[in-house]
Amino acid sequence: MKNKIMTDLDIKQKNKTVKAEPDKVKKADESVVIEFQNVSKKYSANIEAIHDVSFNVLIGEFISLVGPSGAGKSTLVKLLTCEEKPTGGKILVAGRDISELKKKELPFFRRKVGVIFQDFKLLPKKTVYENIAFALEVCDAPDSEIKEKVPKIIDLVGLTNRAFSFTEELSGGEKQRVSIARALVHNPKLLIADEPTGNLDPVSTWEIIELLFKINKQGTIVLLASHDKEVVDSLQKRVITMKDGKVVSDQQKGKYNL
């Protein structure tokens, strides 16, 4: 019962036909995992962060979501993690409208999604190790798995010597690495990265992008929100460009062109 959402996300059941979208090559329905259908988000009467956005995300895709700051990238991410609810339209994940997830189902949905938050969202009174272990603990992972995986991923993001520091004491770049490690540690089916390289130096930036690539190759869908032109251009992957809350272009092997 509690695995409903997970298996849904795994087997990508689809029972709805998708409206034709002219600027996109559409594959078979079975490969559509996430569907934005005319989604709008108004924070208040005169602040509309997202306006009538529609696109599909297919199985195994690596998508860059680009646009100037204020374009609505973070809002889109929040809608996808149910941190905010759309004021118009629908977001379907594995065929289910996520705004209709029950209170009990929401945690299970979130455990299948890894998010690297733009503002990190680390637990301030906990150490690096505890923060990362927490993502596994909530998934009911056994202690042995936690003991094995957490040090590995801490090593992977290069924070071994800060493992037992409180996250409050870390620099921006270090916090970003913790946030990345936490998003990855439980092998999510969908990885959302909101400006994950914003606080990193060029070398680290490429290391992180490399990591995202590797995860994508293992089958995880990656949604990368970024305004780093250099990074996006080098990826040679699908690029969705946003401006003032609207999708202005959606290209395979796209470039950052604003």
Partner: protein, 303 residues
């Protein structure tokens, strides 16, 4: 098995954050101690005074001493009249011989004084010892005996020494009943508000933490669990400390209280109070309050 793992994790998280937020924990615990102590202190006091009053009430009596000129028949007829009254519990006749016996037993250590009165010379009067159901009824008996009909027969009427004590106890009991209950009731309400707000503040200070936990996929009860457990720990700690203070207070002030009340053996004062029951009740109340306040406070952040 899974439940056990989750419980262990929640417990661990709770204990760690109790320690890391130790000042807030301390504040919450202190307020809880205040509540538990106030309530249990007044409860004990009331129980103590109640039991003392009951014990002493049964000992209150009035003695009527008769002139030697009065015949035994007259005394017995008075005895029967008294027994017929509804407020009189018992009447004992003390003959001259009985009075002498009592005199002797009371003065064993002073033989000179003891032997002033003997079988040959016994000026001790005959008397009736009257007990009533309520100490308040003694006054009526006194008035009855003081009436003109009996006045010439009677040498003296005396209340026993306990009368003063009982009067004092009745006053204290009334005082504690009204002031004590109002005061502890007030304290409980104030304390619940303070505990609730203290816990709310601790949780508010950590609302970011709660939000993040939820975003990472923690279930509601995984988020709530540690906070509720912290509330339980405040309750347990407070109950233990409050019981200790109560115990020490009893050790310190019981002798003085016994003195004031004129009770030689102070243990009789607390004979009907079970210290074990007090600890258990405080624990239960503490855990209940801590849980209740945490649940209400954390609920606000889980919507």
């Amino acid at each position: 098995m899974q439940l056990f793992t989750t419980l262990t994790r929640i417990t661990k998280t709770a204990l760690i954050s109790l320690w890391r937020n130790r000042w807030l924990s301390l504040a919450a615990t202190l307020v809880m101690i205040l509540t538990l102590f106030t309530v249990s202190f007044f409860t004990c006091l009331l129980l103590m005074v109640n039991s003392t009053t009951t014990m002493l009430r049964s000992k209150v009596d009035i003695s009527v001493y008769f002139n030697d000129s009065v015949s035994n028949d007259q005394i017995f007829s008075i005895e029967n009249t008294l027994l017929a009254r509804s407020d009189v519990k018992s009447v004992d006749y003390i003959s001259k011989e009985k009075a002498l016996e009592v005199w002797r037993s009371q003065n064993t250590d002073n033989t000179q004084l003891r032997d002033i009165i003997n079988d040959a010379y016994n000026p001790l009067p005959r008397s009736l010892e009257i007990k009533t159901d309520q100490p308040e009824d003694l006054e009526g008996v006194n008035t009855f005996l003081s009436s003109t009909d009996y006045k010439p027969l009677i040498k003296e009427i005396s209340y026993r020494k306990n009368k003063d004590l009982v009067d004092r106890l009745i006053k204290i009991t009334t005082f504690i009943k009204y002031v004590g209950w109002i005061l502890s009731g007030l304290f409980v309400i104030i304390s619940i508000l303070i505990i609730y707000n203290t816990i709310r503040l601790t949780i508010y200070a950590r609302s970011e933490e709660i939000e993040i936990m939820k975003l990472v996929g923690a279930s509601d009860w995984y988020v709530q669990g540690p906070f509720i457990l912290e509330g339980v720990v405040y309750g347990i700690l407070a109950a233990i400390i409050s019981s200790l203070i109560l115990y020490l207070a009893a050790q310190l002030f019981l002798p003085a209280a016994g003195n004031y009340l004129g009770v030689a053996n102070v243990s009789t004062l607390i004979s009907n109070i079970s210290f074990f029951a007090i600890i258990v009740i405080q624990l239960l109340v503490g855990i209940f309050l801590g849980t209740l306040c945490s649940v209400f406070a954390v609920k606000k952040h889980l919507k």
